[in-house]
């Protein structure tokens, strides 16, 4: 064998060795795995390149000794590490330890080290001292910081998951070929002991509320047979008897088109469910209450037309069936009676622009079948909200409205009756008076006839004629007496009882009293009174009667056409007060206008002919005068004067 060959072989071997070593080092570098040798006799530590790197050095940067290594072990782990290693070595066990080191840069790394005294090919060669401790140790060291971190993170996330499940009352489970897994929280939800393991399907079904059991059994069956997931709420009864609501969700796991089983979650929703039920109940109560009272609630933005809330009753109030689903805001407006729509729109728009509340007290809506209802709607501007955002209520005021109309009708009837009574009474009075006056007049006429006949006798029977003449006188006086009684009748037999009277107040009273009449006949009353109109000294009741008569007269004159009733007052230079009552009615009868003040002179079919006569009697009793003038355009004006006697004269 040539030396060259040997040389070559050696060179080859050396190269191979070099390559092997390089590969080893590369492998160690990739795996963060290093090795070391420790000669206990010489206390020399030999590190592989990767060991240097693990400890934060450059490969072979400096020689290592034990003290340096020891110093680099994390102080908290140091004692445990060395004690453990010693114990293991003495016990003949290969020491394995996980500990932290501190790199020169201060970075902490976690490493795993395995120590062996059998580093050579023949394990028995380990040199030991008298106590059996080896003189030479070999070991590996692996940087497991990343793995450790991952583990920590996993542990942490498991903790979080489990804690999350516990807090959320949500358990999870998996069901596959390798078995049946239940999370801790799931056990807690069902009130089971994790030590007994996950329940079988039969055990599980036994926990379900009897009323839900059949449906759950069916669900599980379908899940197994059809590999279908589910999501359902069921009631369970825990072993301790507590009833809980749970929502169970199962999802099939399919990996690359292969069914692998199920995963799922189960959540305890008892509180949520009870709350939901309570809410639902309260909603039902509210809805019922709204339905009973015909009050609907709503919240909307009129500007954007967005609807936030519309109670069922709101639908019904507008003639919609809430079961038919949502309806655009415009369609609610469309139900408003065409005559009322402009007013409602205007009120709404004003309120929206003023960002103000509103109360539309009455408007009509038309239902499809033709019914008309009266509604009232109140809106509160949502101040914190957008322009046009309102929350409010709408209520049905039809009954109230009808009641009001009924009342109004009744009031009208009363007023009519009062009027008829008045007319009847006056008519009765007039008839009675007419009869009473006619009797003596007829009697005196007849007596006069008889008297003439006695005188025509031949010879004339003067005694009988005289007797007849006496009766004529008596009957004449009798007629005069009746007329006196008539006068005293409408003076109520008592002279005026003067007091300080505020004419403005009387006019106000009479206007209010006659409002029904004026509204009915579309008559407007306007009073244009002298500001400094003095109070007068008069009989209040009689003055009321004067105003009542003259105003009724004016209304009567305008009742077919409507019109305007104007009351004015002024003072004459002589200090008299003139009150004028002007109408735009049919005007005065042709002829002598003075006659209209005569008793029983009536131009109206149902008139008594007494109103103006009484008026004149009262005014004259107060020292005043009453007259009528025809208006230039239409109607008549009645004037009366009252001496302006003020408080000073009282």
């Amino acid at each position: 064998m040539a030396n060259d060959d040997v040389q070559k072989t050696l060179a080859d071997l050396s190269r191979d060795l070099q390559e092997s070593k390089a590969r080893l080092e590369e492998a160690q570098r990739v795996a963060h795995f290093g090795h070391w040798e420790w000669d206990l006799e010489t206390d020399v530590v030999v590190w592989s390149d990767e060991t240097y790197r693990i400890f934060g050095f450059s490969p072979q940067e400096r020689p290592m000794d034990l003290a340096t290594v020891r110093a680099m072990v994390h102080a908290e782990d140091r004692e445990r590490l060395y004690q453990g290693v010693d114990e293991d070595l003495l016990a003949g066990v290969r020491p394995a330890a996980e500990f932290r080191i501190v790199r020169p840069s201060g970075e902490v790394r976690t490493v795993y080290s395995l120590t062996s005294d059998r580093w050579s090919s023949s394990p028995g060669d380990a040199k030991r001292d008298a106590s059996g401790r080896p003189y030479k140790l070999f070991g590996t060291i692996q940087d497991i910081t990343e793995r450790k971190r991952t583990e920590e993170a996993l542990k942490q996330s498991y903790f979080y998951l489990s804690e999350g499940q516990r807090l959320g009352h949500m358990g999870s489970w998996a069901f596959n070929d390798s078995g049946h897994y239940w999370s801790e929280e799931l056990y807690r939800i069902y009130g089971l002991d994790p030590k007994n393991g996950a329940p079988t399907v039969e055990q599980y079904l036994a926990l379900i509320h009897p009323q839900d059991r059949a449906s759950m059994a069916e669900t599980i069956k379908r899940m197994q047979e059809e590999q279908r997931g589910f999501d359902q709420i069921e009631r369970i009864i825990r072993p301790d008897g507590q009833l809980r609501y749970v929502r169970a969700v199962a999802v099939p796991v399919v990996e690359q088109a292969v069914f692998k089983g199920f995963v799922g979650t189960t959540m305890d929703i008892t509180e949520h469910q009870l709350l939901t039920e309570e809410l639902r109940r309260e909603r039902a109560y509210l809805s019922e209450a709204q339905s009973l009272t015909h009050i609907g609630s709503w919240a909307t933005n009129f500007y954007t037309k967005r609807v936030f809330h519309l109670s069922d009753e709101t639908f019904r109030l507008h003639g919609f069936d809430p079961r038919n689903g949502p309806i655009p805001l415009e369609r609610f407006f469309d139900t408003i009676h065409p005559e009322d729509r402009p007013a409602v729109s205007a009120a709404l728009e004003n309120a929206i622009h003023a960002r103000a509340d509103y109360d539309i007290r009455e408007f009509r809506v038309c239902y499809p079948e033709g019914t008309i209802r009266f509604l009232r709607t109140i809106g509160h501007h949502n101040r914190s909200g957008e322009l046009g955002e309102y929350v409010g209520i709408t209520m049905d005021v039809t009954e109230r409205k009808q009641a009001e109309q009924e009342r109004e009708k009744l009031r009208q009837l009363e007023a009519d009756l009062a009027h008829i009574n008045r007319v009847n009474m006056m008519g009765e009075l007039a008839a009675t008076l007419a009869h009473e006056i006619k009797q003596p007049i007829a009697a005196s006429i007849t007596s006069a006839n008889a008297c003439l006949r006695w005188l025509a006798h031949d010879p004339p029977d003067l005694d009988r004629a005289r007797a007849a003449a006496v009766r004529i006188e008596q009957d004449g006086n009798r007629a005069a007496d009746v007329i006196d009684r008539l006068r005293s009748f409408y003076k109520k037999g008592t002279p005026p009882e003067p007091g300080i009277v505020d004419l403005k107040e009387i006019i106000r009273e009479m206007t209010a009293l006659l409002r029904k009449e004026t509204v009915r006949h579309s008559i407007k009353i306007r009073s244009d009174l002298n500001e400094d109109m003095p109070n007068v000294l008069a009989d209040r009741v009689q003055l009321q009667q004067v105003f009542m008569n003259l105003m009724l007269n004016a209304i009567e004159a305008m009742k077919d056409t409507g019109g305007k009733l104007t009351i004015t007052s002024r003072r004459t230079p002589s200090g008299q007060l003139i009150v004028s009552i002007e109408d735009t009615g049919v005007g005065l009868p042709a002829g002598d206008t003075e006659r209209i003040f005569d008793a029983f002179h009536s131009t109206k079919p149902q008139g008594t002919g007494m109103g103006l006569a009484i008026t004149r009697s009262i005014v004259e009793a107060h020292g005043g005068r009453v007259w009528a003038t025809a208006n230039q355009e239409a109607g008549a004006t009645f004037h009366f004067t009252l001496p302006a006697r003020t408080e000073a004269d009282a």
């Binding site: 007829a442 009697a443 006429i445 007849t446 007596s447 006839n449 008889a450 006695w454």
Partner: protein, 208 residues
């Protein structure tokens, strides 16, 4: 007026002045007048045998004149009535006239109108009274007939011949002739026509 010198005008009016005036007016034309304030007072007096009439105020305190008119008719007291009233209307006057009133006058009335109405009423009452007296006389005569004679009279006025009457009552024709002669004599009838008129006034019901 002489023929009715004994006639009486009754006046019922609650108004004393009116009552006295009418009373005086009636007397001024030579008639007898009796006046009363109420209908009750009038019913309490006797007033038969001579033509009379009643001047009645429609409006009486207790009972209206129209009601009083009806009451008189129901009581069989036939007396012509002249209504006077202070405020009569058309329906009221129609009602009164339909019920047999002679006249309906409104106060004050023309004296001649009342006196004319009174004259008319008294004439009617005179005729009615004569009629009544005649019927009473006939009734007296009819009462004097025997049952057989009354039977024969009824058959005679119904137009039967003696032969028919004989077969009807089962007697001989000669017997019928005797009865018939008695009837004519007792009833003071001058002819069969006269007898028929009497039967009519007596309201004798014809034979079946």
């Amino acid at each position: 007026m002489k023929s009715t010198a004994v006639s009486t005008v009754f006046i019922i009016d609650d108004d004393r002045g009116m009552r006295q005036a009418i009373h005086d007016l009636v007397e001024s034309v030579g008639l007898r007048a009796e006046s009363f304030a109420t209908g009750e007072e009038f019913l309490g007096t006797k007033h038969i045998g001579r033509p009379s009439c009643l001047v009645l105020d429609v409006r009486l305190p207790q009972m209206s004149g129209l009601d009083f008119q009806r009451r008189l008719a129901e009581g069989g007291l036939r007396i012509p009535i002249i209504f006077v009233t202070a405020h009569g209307d058309i329906p009221m006057s129609v009602k009164a006239l339909k019920s047999g009133a002679v006249e309906f006058l409104t106060k004050p009335f023309r004296d001649q109108d009342l006196l004319d109405a009174i004259q008319q009423a008294l004439e009617w009452d005179g005729i009615a009274q004569k009629e009544q007296a005649e019927v009473a006389d006939l009734q007296k005569r009819h009462q004097a007939l025997t049952l057989r004679e009354r039977e024969v009279m009824t058959l005679v006025v119904s137009g039967m011949l003696n032969k028919q009457i004989a077969s009807e009552i089962g007697a001989s024709e000669a017997t019928v002739k005797v009865h018939r002669g008695n009837v004519m004599h007792k009833m003071q009838a001058s002819s069969v026509v006269d007898l028929v008129r009497m039967a009519d006034k007596l309201k004798l019901s014809p034979v079946k």
